[in-house]
């Protein structure tokens, strides 16, 4: 029987809020335009990531797509990153278009703004999914058929929504507490759904690449393409290996010096040495294999941290009060019909803002700090709330009584 690698990469950049103070609120509405040298400069970060990750990785992916007809990739790419690439790194956006043009790169649906709207407003969530679909159609000429929620935040409700919305598949974390005795290396059916299929991330194999690859203290370091292919090939009773990770793993989280690009270049060749090995996109694997079981997930599971829940985004009261305050403005905001105001409000919904406010790792000086442009979670909260106050100011100026 065939065994397929399902390589799914998630591309995203938020609009980071600059050092935005109480003195800016009501005066200057540009929350996302930091000076270029600043740590919160979106332009600078996009330049850096394009150079370190998007361009070198796409160059290699394109070559692999040319060299190996069996090689396939699935991508999710948020509206916020597409816009920023259009503006500041059009050559990087073109490199994404080039790989998609091979016909062997499938794009996955999600919210345009990488938001947690599903948990706060179904109406707003659906608007953002529709925005994303339109953006993907316009940019890549493709209509997504498989859905992923932001941060792979998944539960039965998300699956039911995606089923009713007509998606053929949905992605989630393959967390042990959910899987139980099951293996993530098969196709599943979510409970209480009609047609949709569930693909769960094999987090052990995915994290070998995404997190442990460059770790010299890891017993398996250095990880080579042949060793990795051997692990997969010798796994009994599996149809699909769901390797789900951030796209920025390549060149950004794992630097060029770690040998990550070398690994990527050699993985297809090593894997395809065995005749019944192949690659599939998320849709293809759903078409190829029947579901082996149903999976019931009443509680929300994400792909973050050891808890695999939403606590990285909604784990302290700063985070919950900030996000609730933002969504409480929804009706007023949408009623203005002011597209600039609505867009600014939506950019503040991006989950990264709440991630930067997370305090659970802060005491340990954890590596998560690497992903935050702020000195500490409190500064992140202060900048965000001042931007929120300015959104309110703009509503008041329009005569809205809050």
């Amino acid at each position: 029987m065939n065994k397929a690698i399902v390589l799914y990469l998630h591309v995203h950049q938020p609009y980071r809020v600059r050092h935005y103070t109480i003195f800016d609120a009501g005066v200057d509405h540009r929350y996302f335009d930091a000076p270029y040298e600043d740590r919160t400069s979106n332009e600078r970060i996009v330049h850096k990531v394009a150079e370190k990750s998007y361009l070198p990785t796409n160059r290699r992916l394109l070559q692999l797509l040319r060299d190996y007809p069996e090689f396939k990739v699935s991508l999710s790419i948020t509206g916020t990153v597409i816009e920023q690439l259009e503006r500041w790194a059009p050559e990087a956006l073109q490199s994404f278009k080039d790989i998609v043009a091979t016909g062997r790169v499938e794009i996955v649906a999600e919210t345009f703004h990488h938001s947690l709207a599903f948990f706060y407003s179904r109406e707003e969530f659906e608007a953002q999914v529709a925005m994303h679909r339109k953006k993907i159609q316009d940019t890549f000429g493709q209509t997504p058929k498989v859905f992923r929620n932001t941060e792979l935040a998944y539960n039965n409700d998300v699956a039911q929504w995606a089923d009713k919305a007509g998606y053929k598949g949905i992605l989630s974390e393959g967390w042990d507490k959910v899987l139980g005795w099951r293996s993530p290396n098969y196709v599943y059916r979510p409970s209480y759904t009609e047609n949709i299929r569930l693909l769960m991330k094999n987090y052990k194999l995915s994290d070998d690449i995404a997190f442990r690859f460059g770790d010299r203290n890891w017993a398996e370091w250095p990880l080579t393409a042949s060793k990795f292919s051997h692990w997969l090939g010798s796994t009994e009773g599996a149809t699909n290996f769901n390797l789900f990770m951030d796209y920025e793993t390549f060149g950004e989280h794992q630097w060029d010096e770690s040998g990550i690009f070398n690994f990527l270049e050699h993985l297809p060749g090593e894997w395809l040495k065995t005749p019944d090995h192949t690659f599939m996109t998320v849709s293809e694997v759903i078409d190829a294999f029947e579901p082996v079981d149903t999976v019931d997930m009443p509680h929300t599971v994400t792909w973050a941290d050891t808890e695999r829940d939403l606590s990285a985004w909604l784990g302290n009261t700063m985070q919950t009060s900030a996000i609730q305050a933002l969504y409480d403005l929804k009706d007023h905001i949408l009623a203005t019909g002011d597209l600039v105001l609505i867009e600014d409000w939506r950019r503040l919904q991006t989950s990264d803002h709440f991630y930067y406010m997370c305090t659970k790792w802060f005491n340990d000086g954890d590596i998560h700090a690497y992903f935050s442009p702020y000195a500490n979670p409190y500064d992140a909260f202060i900048a965000f709330m001042n931007a929120y106050h300015d959104i309110r100011f703009r509503l008041i100026e329009k005569g809205v009584v809050l």
Partner: protein
């Protein structure tokens, strides 16, 4: 291990953090077996059982009467009945003579001399000269801190510089202070050990139900928020900048009270500044406070601000966290090295100070998360590791030479 410790003050006869830090450090040292004789320049009852407290009076003086603050003049009463008011520099010289007499006459045997801050350093050098014992000097602050970043008093700097050269080892209360010693006094970094100050949580008295600030409690019930500063009203503490930030905060968050607790030479100047800024209604000066009034000031605070130009450590930040207030401190504060969960600002950046104060006042979730996380860090603090490190430092020097009396 018998330690001759030279200090300037101990609670309850202290004017600031120095006395508290010495007291708590000695307590931890004594639980680890250190035998301490602590010499202060005045006679008073400290009710201390874990070490011997010895007053060092100069010849002919029967009594030294302390004023309210360690930096005011003391009254020296002589045997013949004359009374002299002597300023801090003169006191420091008299202390040197007194310690010299005390060490020359004593029959006690010590292993090491440990001296706290410049006021005791000349005495410490005399004691070292007489006994040839190893000398550890402990810098709770340097002259640049006290001078608010300026050069300060050249005589004081000279005493510090000489003692740093002559001492066998230098202890700094923070990396911040160590860096200043390396920069300002050109001392090799490997001669200086950082031994962080800490907090003795057992010394905290419980808060009771009725806060002493009844008016502020009533205002809080009407939606007011309270920002607290406790400390000496002196240049180092940077209160003018805090008050300029206060004006910006009050314009945006009018239901705000700034509670300023302490005394010092800037008192009148600060009151004048508040009046000139037009924010007198929102600023409450209490003067110097102890006991319940002091504790309750922290407790009523929604935010404690320590905006010092340079704060070698900053014990008040830990006291604030212990009594219930989260902290905004200047980036130039040593305590930031042990409390990560605090807001930080450059001491000169009054706009950012106002921005952060306003954010805490407008968001209880920020205040509460900040406090809960800082309290977790605070709860992990102890003097014991600091005492252990100090005993290790003593040991490195006492093993090099024999004990002498």
């Amino acid at each position: 291990m018998k330690i001759l410790m030279l200090g300037w003050e101990l609670p309850p006869h202290n004017s600031g953090g120095l006395g508290v830090a010495c007291y708590q450090l000695c307590r931890a040292l004594s639980t680890q077996g250190a035998d301490i004789e602590f010499v202060v320049p005045y006679k008073a009852d400290h009710a201390i059982s874990f070490m011997k407290v010895t007053p060092a009076h100069p010849q002919g003086v029967t009594e030294v009467q302390r004023a309210g603050s360690a930096y005011d003049s003391y009254k020296y009463i002589y045997k013949d009945g004359t009374v002299k008011s002597i300023d801090i520099f003169g006191q420091q010289q008299l202390y040197e003579e007194a310690v010299n007499d005390l060490v020359a006459k004593t029959e006690a045997t010590y292993d090491v001399i440990h001296a706290h801050d410049w006021l005791t350093f000349r005495a410490a050098l005399r004691a070292k000269q007489l006994t040839n014992l190893p000398l550890v000097i402990h810098l709770h602050s340097v002259e640049r801190d006290r001078a608010g970043g300026g050069f300060g008093n050249p005589l004081v700097r000279e005493i510090e510089a000489t003692a740093m050269q002559m001492a066998d080892r230098i202890v700094a209360v923070s990396q911040h202070t160590k860096d200043m010693i390396v920069q300002d006094y050109d001392i090799p970094a490997d001669k200086i050990e950082v031994v962080h100050n800490s907090i003795d949580r057992e010394m905290f008295e419980e808060l009771d139900d009725a806060n002493a600030y009844r008016y502020l409690t009533a205002l809080k019930n009407q939606g007011y928020r309270v920002v607290v500063n406790i400390g000496r009203l002196t240049m180092q503490k940077n209160l003018p900048n805090l008050l300029h930030a206060a004006k910006d905060v009050i314009e945006r968050v009018p239901k705000t009270i700034f509670l300023i607790v302490g005394s010092g030479e800037q008192y009148f100047e600060l009151i004048q500044l508040v009046a000139n800024l037009g924010i007198s209604k929102n600023i409450v000066f209490t003067g110097f406070q102890r006991g319940k009034n002091w504790r309750d000031a922290y407790a009523i605070g929604d935010l404690f601000v320590m905006p010092s130009i340079s704060e070698p450590f900053g014990l008040t930040a830990l006291e604030a966290i212990g009594y219930g207030a989260p902290v905004l401190m200047s980036n130039q504060s040593g305590v930031a090295e042990v409390i990560r969960n605090s807001l930080k600002v450059d001491f000169w950046d009054t706009r950012e100070m106002a921005n952060k104060i306003a954010a805490v006042l407008q968001n209880d979730s920020l205040r509460d998360t900040l406090h809960a996380n800082s309290l977790a860090e605070y709860s992990g603090l102890s003097w014991q590791p600091s005492a252990k490190k100090l005993l290790g430092i003593y040991g490195q020097h006492t093993s090099l030479q024999g004990t002498m009396s």
